[in-house]
């Protein structure tokens, strides 16, 4: 039995005799599988990344301002995670204080960049802004929402109950939690949504000196990624800096690429796209993540609920009617 979401709401309401009727937001209708019309995202090209971590620092600085994804009232300084000496911001992984992190893959003597053997590569890890985000679909209160226009998966702490189902659902282990807070929030990259309202764009892209991270419309980013994969290794090409449509470009020798744009189809497609010289599973992306839209997996169950409601009520009532008549007959005979 397959149902669309509107039918589902109707039949639940009907089957449960108005019990579940309410002014409920039909938030299901917003669970689209299509790329939103004005979807924005990031293209990260690991072959251009030099691991300077400028993106990490500026991500913290910009997101610790009012409206930012790390901001809390009364904070004194950005959410740095110091080493003992209070000198370096040195987070080991994404956390409630770090939305964006540069990691390194290294193999053997680690001499050649962007090679899987005896080489190394960087990886920039943050939210991929899935086209069908599992985190938003599993959130019981709609605290995580995908913007229907620009596709940014953003968070509303006022709704959140802190159940952490988003962390279980996310195939990329992105959402993080403030474990040491009595009133914690989920923290994840929200693509500098607060800066877009000021006409700016993602801080990690603005402050990337090499063009490894560029911001833009997802359709343009996909074209740019495809263009790069078609370039000949060793030839020279222009790479835009900061944004995909930037006139500020940098000419550079083309590295070896794995012939795959990560995020084009993974988990139903994402708005963060990655290119790399090293296979993506070596960079930490689970090969078990398929192209399937994850919310479909739970919807398959939810769509059956109206039938179960009707079924149990009908079968239950019928059984009771039959068995109690039998009881009555027995009693009558005895009398």
């Amino acid at each position: 039995m397959s149902l669309n979401r509107r039918d589902f709401l109707k039949s639940v309401a009907a089957a449960s005799g108005g019990l579940l009727l309410s002014k409920a937001t039909p938030s299901a209708a917003t669970m689209s599988k299509e790329l939103p019309p004005e979807a924005v995202g990031i293209l990260y090209d690991a072959t251009l990344c030099i691991g300077c971590k400028s993106c990490m620092v500026n991500c913290k600085v910009e997101n610790s301002k009012p409206g930012g994804a790390l901001y809390t009232k009364g904070m004194q300084e950005p959410t740095y995670e110091y080493t003992n000496e209070r000198i370096w911001d040195a987070p080991p992984d994404l956390s409630g204080k770090t939305l964006n992190i540069i990691k390194v893959y290294m193999n053997g003597n680690g001499e050649v960049k962007d090679r899987p053997e005896n080489g190394y590569s960087f990886l920039k890890q943050h939210c991929l802004h899935c086209i069908s985000p599992a985190c938003a679909s599993v959130c019981p209160v709609g605290a995580l929402v995908k913007d229907p226009v620009n596709g940014i998966v953003h968070y509303n702490a006022d709704r959140c109950i802190g159940c952490r189902y988003c962390m279980i659902g996310c195939p990329f282990r992105i959402p993080r939690f403030e474990w040491n807070s009595a009133w914690p929030e989920i923290r994840k990259c929200q693509l500098c949504r607060h800066r877009m309202q000021e006409g700016k764009y993602a801080a990690c892209c603005e402050f990337c000196p090499t063009g490894a991270s560029i911001f833009g419309k997802v359709v343009d980013l996909r074209k740019e990624a495809q263009r790069r994969l078609e370039l000949k290794e060793g030839s020279e090409s222009d790479f835009p800096l900061q944004t995909v449509d930037s006139t500020n470009k940098r000419t550079r020798k083309v590295s070896q690429y794995v012939k795959h744009v990560y995020g084009l189809n993974e988990a139903g497609g994402t708005q963060y796209l990655l290119l790399s010289g090293v296979p993506f599973d070596l960079l930490g992306f689970s090969p078990k993540v398929t192209d399937a839209h994850l919310p479909d997996l739970t919807w398959a169950y939810i769509a059956k609920i109206p039938a179960v409601i009707v079924g149990v009520i009908v079968v239950g009532t019928a059984t009771w009617a039959i068995t109690s008549r039998r009881e009555q007959n027995k009693k009558d005979k005895r009398e």
Binding site: S27, P140, N180, T290, A300, I309, W320
Partner: protein, 377 residues
């Protein structure tokens, strides 16, 4: 009426339980003041731990006996089981209270636990689970209410609830079927994380069937314990009936699980000697295969002491299943990152406090209410 003088309240064991409960309460206050990180070993890669797997998944599964016995007595009209309907429902109520309290403590923002009731998000299994917890806990309270009305001599209310009992029980069966299965459905979103030994599109069904296994054995276990603790005769025919039912359900479960694991091509994973595969084998042997082997012999399923042993095996096995799905089944995936999780002493202590509270609550009800009407208690 019904103040059973022969049930002693302040036994040494009860005092131990009160101590465990008191210590848990202190930890709960500490957790509310300083956050989950202060009490638990949970971390960003292990967002759910003992409280979700044992208290919530396990607690709800342990409560399955309530809807099974209520359905058997009120819908199927199998009157034989009427002697255990009150304790079974009360037991379920405490199971749900355990789950509901634990999830309240486990979520980051306990004071807004009511949000799902007003902020609907129908794509979310967690939303569906939350609504079920609320509705079914109220249903169980209603199903238990005649005992209280009886105690306080509220004749009108007593008669009213008894009159509407059948529709309430049908509603309770409906909620239970949905709730037990939806707890399995919680994990449908994790195909890339949960080991294929457990991950299956049939997970909701397996949760329902295994909850029925656990429910039948829990009721049997609790009936035997009560009969000893409160010194009345155990209703033999009822226990033998539960054992037969358990044998049938467990047999179906075993066949279906084997079929599923073979269908998914995961059978090899069960025997590769890894931690995950051993946990799977342990769960299946203790909770399914051994009980079937034992119950299929008539001398076992017609002997209360032996039934008691089987009850314990099934309870361990199904609870282990919940721990596996909620925690250990994710280990292969998460441990690659080098970060492990084992529940902290405080997590165990809070869980123990929850169980202690449920046992104490049950005992108080046994003392002051007419919980076992046909046994003279």
């Amino acid at each position: 009426m019904a103040n059973h003088a022969d049930i002693k309240m302040m036994t040494p064991l009860t005092k131990v339980f009160i101590g465990i409960f008191g210590f848990g309460c202190v930890l709960i206050i500490y957790r509310l003041l300083f956050g989950l990180g202060a009490v638990t070993n949970l971390n960003d890669l292990w967002p759910w731990g003992l409280w979700i797997s044992f208290d919530v998944l396990g607690g709800v599964a342990m409560a399955a006996g309530g809807f099974l016995i209520a359905g058997t007595v009120y819908i199927l009209n199998w009157k034989k089981y009427k002697v255990i309907v009150r304790p079974a429902i009360l037991n379920a109520f405490f199971g749900y209270a355990l789950a509901a309290t634990s999830i309240t403590l486990d979520i980051g923002r306990p004071f807004v636990i009511w949000h799902p009731i007003v902020m609907w998000q129908i794509n979310s299994i967690m939303f569906i689970v939350a609504i079920h917890v609320v509705l079914y806990t109220s249903t169980l309270a209603t199903e238990s209410s005649p005992m209280f009305f009886e105690k306080f001599g509220m004749q009108k209310a007593y008669r009213f609830v008894n009159k509407i009992m059948v529709p309430i029980v049908i509603f309770g069966v409906l909620l239970s079927v949905l709730h037990q299965s939806s707890l399995g459905a919680v994990f449908l979103i994790t195909p890339s994380k949960l080991s294929p030994l457990w991950y299956s599109s049939n997970l909701p069904t397996w949760f329902l069937v295994s909850a029925i296994m656990l429910g039948l054995n829990m009721v049997s276990f609790e009936t035997i314990i009560s009969s000893r603790a409160f010194k009345h005769k155990a209703p033999k025919e009822v226990l033998f009936g539960l054992a037969r039912g358990s044998l049938i359900v467990t047999g179906v479960y075993l066949a279906a699980k084997i079929y599923d694991v073979v269908r998914l091509g995961a059978i090899g994973l069960a025997f590769n000697g890894s931690f995950t595969s051993n946990m799977y084998l342990l769960e299946m042997v203790v909770g399914v295969i051994l009980p079937i082997a034992l119950l299929s012999q008539k001398p076992v399923r017609t002997n209360i002491d032996r039934i008691f042993v089987v009850n314990i095996l099934v309870m361990l096995g199904v609870v282990l299943n919940r721990l596996n799905v909620g925690m250990f089944g994710l280990a292969d995936y998460i441990s690659k990152t080098g970060i492990d999780y084992f529940p902290s002493f405080f997590e165990f202590a809070v869980t123990a406090a929850m169980v202690a509270a449920a046992v104490l609550g049950f005992k108080i009800c046994a003392k002051y209410l007419n919980l076992f009407p046909e046994t003279g208690h």
